[in-house]
Amino acid sequence: MTYLAKPQLRHPSLKVNDLGLTRRDYEGAVSTLCAGCGHDSISAAIVHACFNLDLPPHRIAKLSGIGCSSKTPTYFLGTAHGFNSVHGRMPSVLTGAACANRELIYLGVSGDGDSASIGLGQFAHCLRRGVNMVYIVENNGVYGLTKGQFSATADRGSKDKKGVSNATESIALVGLALELGATFVGRSFSGDKEQLIPLIEAALMHEGAAFLDVISPCVTFNNHEGSTKSFEHVREHEEVLNVLDTLDAFDLLTPQSEITAQYEAGTVQDVLQHDGTTLRLRKLAQEYDVYDRNAAMAYLHERGRAGEIVTGLIYVDPQPVDMHANLGTIPTPLNLLGDEICPGAAALDKINASYR
């Protein structure tokens, strides 16, 4: 929304990170979304996470499809290149980009219409390929930009603005991502920055296909009674599994105590990532094991059936395999290869000889 100030997060001071950048340096153009749209909070969380992790903004590539959610890459990381592609096909564009330059950080932003309807096939295949990326679905259960039709993530029985009930089975993206082999799977809520920011940070540090399903209410078309994606409904039904801190960025999250205080005390578990960083997990569901994909799926289904929305880090594979490992590519980004890769005239003569 053009005329309102951006929602204020908790660090108003112009603190400087290790790169000497302020949070402002991670922001983008002014949002043109509706005032109060969940998506704007997620943009803000991305700004925070990248700032916290000291990521050079221009080394991040932002990609999206089409939709209100897919517009958001314009609204964060203004000095990064962005690509607002076509509806539902961001995953393939991102995959190609990742092939070309393995050194950038890939952040794909999509909507539930974009990923669960038209884009379901590409969503599935980029996860199973293990593309090193963070893939965020800003999930509001509706098509915002085309004015409020149910999307495929709208729960069966949930109601639209006119009171019409959704008759079709919904698609649970988190369950799908687990089934498809994503090596980092989390769910969060646009209204819960304390959980969301570190989750994005952890996903950014994960060297494989990281998927985040972020419930992000559409204030204009899906925030009414009867919706299961409204602020109120999510607040009432959120079941927080865990909250995590990335230890590298530990000191940047201030003040620790305050965050912890928001949830019941839980045990702490440290999860070592492939790149050497550690995720510190404050577990709220004590028995829950973030390493166990099967158990995660079962737990999600069970709680889902009870109407609860489980959030937190749901699954992480500490030894993810990235697409480049599967492809066996050199460490140098392919887009840096120049004339030196041309086999030249002599090699061509040999080829000619073999075809005589």
């Binding site: 690509f83 330059n101 492809l327 050199i330 392919l334 080829i351």
Partner: protein, 607 residues
């Protein structure tokens, strides 16, 4: 009964087989032996859209005159498929020869009087010679190659040398194959009057030419052209382009120390994804391509419009097959010209390249990457099944080691640091082509947002009509600029001055030049112009203007290249006559010559 045909180095041999029976390599051996004898010959494989058990044919045309197009007819038929036996018997030219497996009784009534029967009990001989079923099947094929060598008076040593090269290091395989060749050869000498009227005589016409299919040549073009990312989805007849790219890149593009690849090949989940990956990789500064056929082109339409409008380089090899829809997936056509030229909704136009043979598949295949980077737009290389999947004699490939890849207008970190002004869609040079940066280039300068929506010269989103029109007109200017970078047409004027002409492209080329010769013999003279790219340069339009009657010869129903002429240039439709051949078989000189002669007949009566 007509006289038995007598021809040297100028006839067609047709093999009738069952697919999946292993005959392909024997037939290739036959063709390659002829080539090793220095005699130009062109094989064409006619195969069904299935894997095993259905009829398949392999036609080899020998032509000392060097005509490489399909010819039609067959002086010699090798009938090895009981399913198609009668059809094959019927297909021999009168006075020709009919070679068949006589192990099972064949009623005399199924043979023709006007054709010389050459029965050979292939299966029987094999059964007597080999005990394993697999051997019996494989060597049966080798056997007939040996026999044909005797019949045509071919140099068996050349065939044996090829066997040695093919199985290098596998002495046992060499020995057994050579034995089979000799067995067949001897049997023929013992039972037939060898040689027959059709003979192969050593020649020097092949020269240093190579024998390769267009798909492999395209793949090599991509390797030499510097492609690093290939995303694709299998579809006949394009599949072997990425497969051969993988194979050659794995040989020529691997880091010797680490064994790691200097390339990436991703088999995508479909064509929407493969073109999406190409666009992503190209946006990110890699040279990248995909290969597909008609149905894939249809699926790529939305993304192709994005690439046009967002100005992303992309190379697409389209190996055309017979449409519409799934059509005849193992037959040839040039029927995706319109679908490529105006791919996507809205006002779009795309650059097309039309190679004529494997040599040009290599050349234009490599050039396509320079063109795409230079023009920042999709570039289509249009092959067809006939060119892509059949081996063809062509000039050896060449490469100038001094050549450098043209990466087009890319602003670097250093230039940004030095303060170079940058507007992604700002036409600084007045040629419609603007500058880009690769993602991640500079911490604070040169980043921009890429999108399929309208934007201003600085890549900022806008819905302003004037900014939109400004951009769309610049794209037209860029399309105009493209002409100067694209390969020029090839023109060959008739020695006898004429007001008639033919325009053609792609795989029609060989048959067309031959047809011009044939027509000249009949006193009909044509100037010829082979178009190699769209948009058409002035030379192309001028050529049409210069002539009274221009035959536009193509392999589709609706005269699609002709449509491009009509749409893009103020050319008179009545002057541009369509000559089309679209039954899925490759066009022949005979067909073209007849069609043009028929169209000219009334005119000539008048004059």
């Amino acid at each position: 009964m007509p006289h038995a045909l007598e021809r040297t180095n100028d006839f067609v041999v047709k093999f009738a087989n069952i697919n999946g029976s292993g005959s392909a390599s024997a037939n290739r051996l036959f063709a390659r032996t002829i080539l090793r004898m220095g005699v130009p010959c062109t094989p064409r494989n006619i195969f069904p859209s299935n894997i095993q058990g259905l009829p398949t044919w392999y036609e080899v045309r020998l032509s000392d005159a060097g005509y490489l197009g399909a010819r039609g007819g067959a002086e010699f038929v090798v009938a090895l498929n009981p399913q198609s036996f009668d059809q094959d018997a019927a297909s021999v030219d009168p006075g020709g020869y009919f070679f068949f497996d006589s192990s099972k009784y064949v009623a005399q009534s199924r043979l023709r009087n006007d054709v010389i029967a050459l029965p050979m009990p292939l299966t029987e001989i094999c059964n007597a010679q080999w005990s394993e079923a697999r051997h019996r099947q494989i060597f049966r094929n080798v056997l007939y190659v040996g026999a044909l060598a005797a019949l045509f008076d071919m140099d068996l040593a050349e065939a044996e040398k090829l066997v040695e090269e093919d199985f290098r290091g596998k002495a046992k395989l060499i020995a057994s194959n050579v034995a089979a060749l000799r067995l067949g050869n001897q049997w023929a000498r013992d039972h037939f009057l060898c040689p027959i009227g059709l003979q192969v005589k050593r020649s020097t016409e092949v020269g240093d030419r190579i024998f390769i299919d267009g798909n492999t040549a395209s793949a090599l073009g991509a390797v030499w052209g510097g492609a690093t990312v290939c995303a694709w989805y299998p579809i006949t007849p394009s599949t072997s382009i990425p497969e051969m790219f993988s194979r050659y890149a794995s040989k020529l593009r691997v880091d010797l120390e680490t064994g790691k690849n200097r390339f990436a090949v991703v088999q995508a989940e479909d064509e929407l994804a493969s073109i999406g990956m190409v666009i992503g990789a190209a946006w990110n500064g890699a040279r990248t391509f995909t290969a597909t056929s008609g149905p894939g082109i249809s699926l790529m339409q939305e993304f192709l419009g994005l690439a046009y409008f967002a100005e992303i380089p992309a190379v697409i090899f389209n190996v055309q097959r017979a449409g519409p829809s799934t059509g005849m997936p193992t037959r040839t056509q040039q029927s995706d010209v319109l679908a490529c030229a105006y791919a996507s909704h809205g006002d779009t136009k795309h650059v097309l390249l039309f190679p004529e043979d494997p040599k040009e598949c290599f050349d234009l295949g490599a050039d396509a990457f320079d063109l795409a980077d230079r023009l920042q737009t999709p570039v289509f290389v249009l092959l067809d099944l006939d060119m892509g999947m059949n081996e063809r004699l062509c000039d050896p490939f060449t490469w100038d080691d001094a050549r450098r890849y043209d990466r087009g207008k890319v602003v670097t970190y250093e230039e940004l640091e030095a303060g170079k002004a940058f507007g992604r869609y700002l036409d600084v040079d007045g040629d419609g082509i603007t500058y880009r940066t690769y993602p991640g280039t500079h911490p604070t300068k040169g980043s921009f947002f890429t999108r399929g929506t309208s934007r201003d010269r600085y890549a900022k989103y806008t819905e302003d009509g004037a900014a939109y029109v400004d951009n769309m007109e610049r794209l037209l200017k860029k399309f105009e600029t493209a002409k100067k970078y694209l390969p020029k047409p090839i023109r060959k004027d008739s020695p006898t001055p004429t007001r008639n002409a033919a325009v053609f492209y792609g795989s029609t080329s060989a048959a067309m030049w031959e047809a011009i010769d044939v027509l000249a013999e009949k006193g009909i003279f044509l100037d010829g112009l082979r178009v190699r790219a769209f948009p058409f340069q002035d030379e192309v339009v001028e050529f049409v203007r210069e002539h009274d009657q221009v035959f536009l010869v193509e392999q589709n129903r609706d005269g699609q290249l002709r449509s491009l002429f009509l749409i893009e240039h103020g050319l008179s439709p009545s002057k541009l006559q369509s000559v089309v051949h679209y039954d899925g078989s490759p066009i022949t000189a005979r067909f073209i010559a007849n069609a043009i002669a028929a169209k000219l007949a009334p005119v000539q009566v008048k004059s």
